[in-house]
Subunit: 247 residues, 2 copies
DNA sequence: CCAAAAGTGTTCAATCTACACCCATGA
DNA sequence: TCATGGGTGTAGATTGAACACTTTTGG
């Protein structure tokens, strides 16, 4: 990082959010309908420019998140994902976006955005498959974000961010099954999450019942890195040499 | 990502590089001595502002890499790490840096920078321990980059980027040992790297000898994601509950 | 033939998977 | 007392760490 004689060209910074949650057992992503002109009327990730003077990037992400979900920041996991800065990605000029991943516990159905024309939860599958078109390079960003979440479930405590403050192990399992799109053995899942010490810790003597034996309640533990990790079942190897092309 | 009435504040974008290589069996990082005024004379990561008109971020990283190492881009692994944009990180104003991780095969000793006053390979340990002070928030960036490389060796083929086009399994093992700072069993390492199909593939009938039986030569295979992964030995658990504090 | 480094076989323990089984509650 | 989901035990397969041993070269 050193200066040169020429003065460097400034760019515009935006913050875009991949906000994920679970709804009726399926992974959903929050999208807004654009009210302004580049891509007006098309679905896009929530986000916006950095505020006037010296707003921190992470603060801007939090601000946008609250504008869209009206959720107490404390319950939401928020982390930086990557930068998307291709010169052609925004017709308005050189706009560089810092993408963030946010995970929220299940929210009430319709989220009327304060800012955007309209905001809605869309099944993640519809975005991954390309069924829903997105503005800018947002499909790419959303795909990257979802993939990031998938792998991070394995070795981090990210899954608890999908639950409320307290949750049962069965609820936690639903998170894994929804995000990974696979079924897991309930009984082995039990032991695995408990084997990762510090992942979840018992919460009071409370229980919650849905027809059978009441389940113990847990809350997120102090550890964010899981050991041993929860391994994702390998896809069933479709007769090919391995699992299709690579690199 | 939607517009507002006010016009957004532009920021300056830089690209900073964490360039790692192996030298005499130890992990080294390339640092330059700053010739310009903020932090003049202090060590810093190689990097610089984006070029005049619409240079792509990745292109800028490649450009800076070549200026510093004069290495054919094709042999170097280069990927984006993260964005560092805290408002106080650069005394010149709002400068946002896109950090990159570069891995290069061992290079000839002195790398006389074209741009910087001086460039030198510094043992990674000296940076991690804080023994060497770095300009800006570059120690943080370097630390993050090294940690990123460490974990990525486990599940990706990143290690081959430290070797030349062809390498022996013993050389590959040295990479793991140097980056992780642990000793590995040669014989089990053999089977593990070969079990991860597509990681390394035999290169011709060539062999290379250093005193004993000649070793087979390999080159990087098509797969970038390793399955099964090479797991890093857990640190010996120092009698504490687990491995020290967390979160 | 000896030293040195490459590569193979084998053992024993830890782990994982699959599934049988018991437990606690509401109706 | 039955249905329903929560939670535990356990046998067999798979994997992993440790280490003896064989192979191939140069001196």
């Amino acid at each position: 990082m050193q200066d040169d004689a020429w003065s460097p060209t400034p760019v515009l910074l935006t913050v875009d959010l991949v906000i994920l949650t679970l709804r009726q057992g399926d992974l959903h992503i929050l999208l807004v309908e654009r009210g302004e002109d580049p891509f007006r009327g098309m679905l896009a990730l929530p986000g916006g420019f950095l505020n006037h003077d010296g707003e921190e990037i992470l603060d801007a992400a939090h601000r946008e998140l609250n504008e869209e979900t009206a959720l107490a920041s404390s319950w939401v996991h928020l982390e930086q994902l990557a930068v998307y800065g291709d010169s052609g990605r925004d017709p308005r000029g050189r706009v560089v976006s810092v993408a963030h991943l946010a995970i929220a516990p299940g929210l009430p159905d319709p989220v009327a955005g304060t800012d955007a024309t309209d905001a809605a939860w869309v099944p993640a599958e519809a975005v991954l498959s390309g069924e829903r078109e997105l503005a800018f390079d947002h499909r790419r960003i959303a795909t990257d974000g979802i993939e990031h979440a998938r792998t991070k479930l394995e070795y981090s405590s990210l899954a608890t961010a999908f639950c409320g403050e307290q949750f049962t192990i069965a609820e936690l399992q639903q998170v894994y099954e929804a995000v990974w799109g696979t079924a897991l053995d309930t009984r082995n899942f039990y032991r695995k999450v408990q084997a990762a010490k510090g992942f979840i810790i018992p919460a009071g003597t409370d229980r919650r019942t849905t027809g059978g034996r009441p389940a113990r309640l847990y809350k997120a533990g102090p550890k964010t890195v899981l050991f041993p990790p929860l391994t994702r079942p390998a896809p069933p190897a479709t007769g090919q040499t391995t699992t299709g092309g690579d690199e």
